[in-house]
Structures are given as C-alpha cells and as structure tokens.
C-alpha cells in the first residue's frame, strides 16, 4: 500500500495546496464568502473525525450531529451568558416560564470552562456511549443503528427541554465571544484564522495518529476484530478512543460552526444532518483526510448553489450521488486517483 502512494508524485502536495488556498482565501474573498468558507471548514473538522472512525476504524456513526451539537451548545451557552445584563436570564427562559438560570448554565460564563467543556464534554459522552456498546462487542450495523437512535433522541430531548435549551428555536442572537464583538469584520477574519489553524492542527495530529501503532491497530480491528483479540489486544479501547477523538473533533467543529453561523439549533444535529455528515466523507473519500475536507466543502457548496435554484433536484441529486459513490466509488473522490494508480 505505501509503495503505491509513493508512485504518485503529486499526492504529498495536495494538503499543501489546500493550505495555500486556505491562506489566500481571506485576501480574495468577500466577508460573506469567507464566513461561508469558514463554516464549511468547521464541518471539515468534523469530517476528519469520520475518516478516523469510519474509514480507518470501520465504525459507522450516524450520530455525529450529537457531538457537533454538544460543542455548538457549549459555546452558545457562553455567548448567551456573556451578553446578558446581570440579574437577568435569557429571554427564551422567560417565555418558557422559567425564572432562574439552571445551575449547569452558570459555569459557562467562564471562557476557560467553556473551552474545556467544548473539548471534554463531547469526548466524554462519546467515550462513555461507545464503550457501553463496544465493550459488549456490539458493533457494525448494530452500532450504526444505535447511533442513529442517539441522534433522534438527543435532538428530541433538546427540543423538548425548551426552558433550558432554547428548544426548537435553538440559541442565537449573540453579540460577542471572549470579549470580541461578533459584528466587527476583524472578528470574522480572526475566527477564520482560528478555524484554519484548528483544521490544520487536527489534520496533522490525525495524520500522525493514523501512522502510529494506534492507527495500525485500529485498521487491524476494523479488518479482523477477533484476530486482534487473539493476538492479545483488546480492540475495545482502540475503538472507544477513536470514537472519542472523533466526537471531540465534531464538538470543536460544532463550536466553530456556531461562531460563524451565529446560531445553533436542533435542525443541525438530528438524524438527517448526521447522515449528511457521512455523505461529505463518502464523497470526499473515507480513507483520506484531505479528501474528507474537500468532500465537506464540495457538498456544502453544491447544496448552496443547487438547492435554492432547483430545490427538488437537490434531493434527487444527493440521493443518486450517494448511491453512486458508495457502490461504485467507495474511496470517494480521493480514490479516483488511487484506483488508477493501482
């Protein structure tokens, strides 16, 4: 496998090219387009996590929206509190009949706590959830179905606890984050750079992780879970750790997305958006980190371009594209190259 990729002289330059484009973008794009690109890059961070668990771990998660949402809601809680005059509670709590802040909201007024929560909460939830399933050796299709039920249950729960979550409306109307006004153009481009930096760090870190013994064992567990077990390794922790890392990336992506979009809501985290996240990676290439980023960008751009002009067409297109890619192009766009090289 490694020899084949070395055959291709251009491959090492692809991430660099993407990086170069990412560096040039702020000087070439309007504020609106830059914001759009930044959102899609935040989704790209989540997509990287799917490469880790789905491509290399064989773990199909149809519930990444849950972790995306956990990160998004964590930062949203902070921004809601930051803009609040002292002694008041967010408006949606008032019209939902609440008169005090729930206790678990209060620590989110601290930026440090918020950042820690964005990193830790999705990771911990991902670890506990996946451990509960994997340690009983339930996996594969069963796991995918359970994650889908998780996405449904989580979004339903957020909606039904309107008094503390903002319900169906989600959380929006933010003015500042960590002391920077969101309306100022400087903040917009600053957040873009942060997103680009996080994306790069995640990319490099995952690249290292996938090349390490951890990555080898993850692939080994994907291809022969029992073989790995009979070599004396317990596959569960590798799968759980991978899942937790993917959950963390989804959470970070969700938090950054919320900053760029100015809203987090159940519409982003339910069953359908969670599957669409898999679509990005399927199209970009489930085994390729760079491919996943490209997939997240392309699918979202295509939706942006197509769905307003041809709303019906979009759904047919997405369905057909998905069937096509999964059946005939399982390595996605990134695999167009590999297969011919082989």
């Amino acid at each position: 496998m490694p020899d084949l990729s070395r055959l291709d002289p251009l491959k090492p330059f692809l991430p660099w090219l993407l990086l170069a484009l990412g560096l040039v973008a702020p000087f070439a794009l309007s504020a609106y387009d830059l914001n759009l690109l930044a959102r899609f890059m935040a989704m790209g961070i989540l997509a990287l996590g799917l490469v880790l668990i789905w491509g290399h771990g064989g773990i199909l998660s149809l519930g990444q929206g849950v972790f995306f949402g956990l990160g998004g809601y964590a930062i949203a809680l902070h921004m809601k509190l930051a803009d609040l005059p002292s002694g008041e509670i967010p408006d949606f709590m008032v019209w939902s009949g609440r008169d005090s802040l729930p206790f678990w909201w209060t620590p989110f007024s601290s930026p440090a706590f918020t950042i820690a929560a964005i990193l830790i909460v999705p990771t911990l939830v991902g670890a506990l959830f996946s451990w509960a399933v994997f340690h009983r050796r339930v996996g594969g299709t069963y796991f995918a179905l359970i994650t889908q039920a998780l996405a449904l249950a989580f979004s339903t729960l957020i909606i039904s606890r309107q008094d503390v979550t903002g319900g169906f409306n989600g959380l929006t109307d933010f003015y500042s984050v960590f002391g920077f006004g969101l309306a100022s153009p400087g903040t917009g481009s600053g957040l873009y750079w942060v997103t680009l930096a996080v994306l790069c760090v995640a990319f490099v870190a995952l690249r290292w992780l996938l090349a390490s013994r951890f990555g080898i064992l993850l692939r080994a567990a994907r291809d022969g879970e029992n073989r790995v077990r009979f070599l004396g390794y317990s596959p569960t922790p590798f799968k759980v750790v991978a899942f937790a890392i993917a959950a963390m990336l989804a959470g970070v992506g969700g938090a950054l997305f919320t900053l760029h979009a100015g809203v987090v809501s159940p519409a982003l985290i339910g069953v359908v958006p969670s599957i669409e996240m898999v679509v990005w990676v399927a199209i970009g290439g489930r085994y390729s980190l760079a491919g996943a980023i490209v997939g997240a960008l392309l699918v979202n751009l295509a939706r942006d371009a197509v769905s307003s002009a041809f709303p019906e067409l979009w759904l047919y297109l997405m369905g057909a594209l998905f069937i096509f890619v999964v059946t005939l192009l399982p390595r996605g766009l990134a695999g167009l190259v590999k297969r011919k090289a082989a």
Partner: protein
C-alpha cells in the same frame, strides 16, 4: 527443564462440554499437555477438533468443565487475557490482517506491551524488531515484508500466520490445520518449521494430512463426536481397529 510431573503440566482440559443448542461439539472431553510437548489431534469431520482450540483460546465457553493453564483456570477469561498468559492460535482459515503489511502483521504479534495507551507511537523496541525479522526469515517472507498481507498467496498467508503465532512468544501454540491448501513441498517445510521450535514451545496441531502428521513424529490424540477416543504414536493409532472403524464409518 527437569522437575516434577506437576510442574511439567502446562495445559489441562478437564471434562469440558460445549453445547451448540443441543449439539454437543465437545462431550465431557479431557486431555493434558506437558511443557515442550508437540501433540497432534486428529479425528473425522465434526469430531470437535476446532472446538477444542476454540475452547482453549476462549472463543467458546464451556457449559461444564475447566481449562487449566499453568494450574490456573482460564475458561472464563477474556480472549486477550488468555493470549497474554501465553497461548496463541492459528486459525483454520488464515487469520491475517489483510490490509496491513506483512511486517506490520508481525510487529503487532511480536509486541509485548499491548496496552492501548502505549500505542501512541511508531517506535519498535529492538528485541521486537529482531523477533519480527527472525519470524520473517523463518517462513521465508523477508522479501515480501512490505507488501499488503491481502496480496499474499494462500500458502504464504498460512506461513505468515504461523510466523505471527510464533512471534507472539507464546508458550502454547495452537495450530489449526496449518497445511490446509499447501502442496507436499510446502507441507514438509511447515513440518520442519514446527519441529524447529524445539523444546521451548508446546504445540498442539490439528490436521488431516497424514504425511504431515508422520513428519511431525509426535503423539496423536484421536477424537470422535466430541469425545476422547485414543492416544498413542501414529503407528499405534493407525493400527487401532476402533480408529479405523470411526474413519471408515465416516467415509462410508
């Protein structure tokens, strides 16, 4: 390696019954293995040979009976802990990791520290590296070390798996049909490989191929319908009327 009979005893399967929804694959079966011994288990299809391996390695759990390894019960331990205690198995259908390189397959097998939090790195300790190279050498796969295991020929996969089992450094090796799909030359090479393991390893071999069993020149245990039938040298077993009846009855 001298000592009393008790310290020589490595494995003891004690009255084990395996029940597949009414069908008894093992029926109150017992046997023992001493340190350094090589033992061959034969028997017609469905005699319970593979199930015996499954039981020892923890893939199936006995409804009755015990499996003792170095005097401790292991029949309830998770598979990876059984392996950690020093048992490793080669499966009937080659169980190599198809998308990893041959070398990576062996490196995983040779690794001593299998805890997950020690897996965040690429470095391989010198002794493990050596073990990998030796294993490659012994099965003649050195020149194929970098290729994906999935691209190996069937016989090569068998050898790779044998090499993996050896590289784990396990004291007890369970080899389930190591020569399946091999030609005569490859078969005798496999026999040489097993004989070359010497006294330091205890080996349990399951095979149909009588020429292979003869080359091993090891004591033979015959199973039938999940039960112990006979034990002795290959010649003794061949001469046994009961064994012949079982095989004849089977073929008839």
């Amino acid at each position: 390696m001298s000592g009393s009979a008790i310290s020589d005893l490595l494995l003891s399967v004690d009255g084990v019954t395996i029940d597949y929804s009414g069908f008894k694959a093992l029926d109150n079966f017992s046997m023992t293995l001493n340190r350094g011994e090589t033992r061959v288990v034969i028997g017609p299809n469905g005699a319970g040979k593979s199930t015996l391996c499954d039981t020892i390695i923890g893939r199936v759990r006995p409804s009755q009976g015990r499996v003792l390894f170095k005097g401790e019960e292991i029949q309830r331990l998770p598979e990876q802990q059984i392996v950690a205690r020093g048992i490793c198995r080669k499966f009937q259908a080659p169980g190599v990791l198809l998308t990893l390189s041959v070398r990576d397959n062996l490196a995983l097998a040779a690794r001593k520290d299998r805890r997950w939090w020690k897996s965040f790195g690429t470095g391989i300790p010198a002794d493990e590296k050596l073990a990998v190279e030796e294993a490659l050498e012994s099965v003649g796969l050195t020149h194929r070390a970098a290729v994906e295991a999935g691209t190996l020929a069937h016989g090569e996969k068998q050898w790779l798996e044998i090499a993996m089992v050896m590289a784990t450094g396990a004291e007890l090796l369970l080899l389930d049909e190591p020569t399946a799909g091999m030609g005569p030359a490859e078969t005798s090479r496999t026999a040489q490989l097993i004989l070359g393991l010497g006294d330091s390893r205890t080996v349990l071999v399951i095979d149909h191929d009588m020429s292979f069993v003869e080359q091993l020149a090891a004591p033979v245990t015959v199973m039938h319908q999940g039960k112990f039938l006979k034990q002795g040298s290959i010649a003794e077993v061949r001469a046994d009327a009961e064994v012949a009846a079982v095989y004849l009855g089977h073929t008839a």
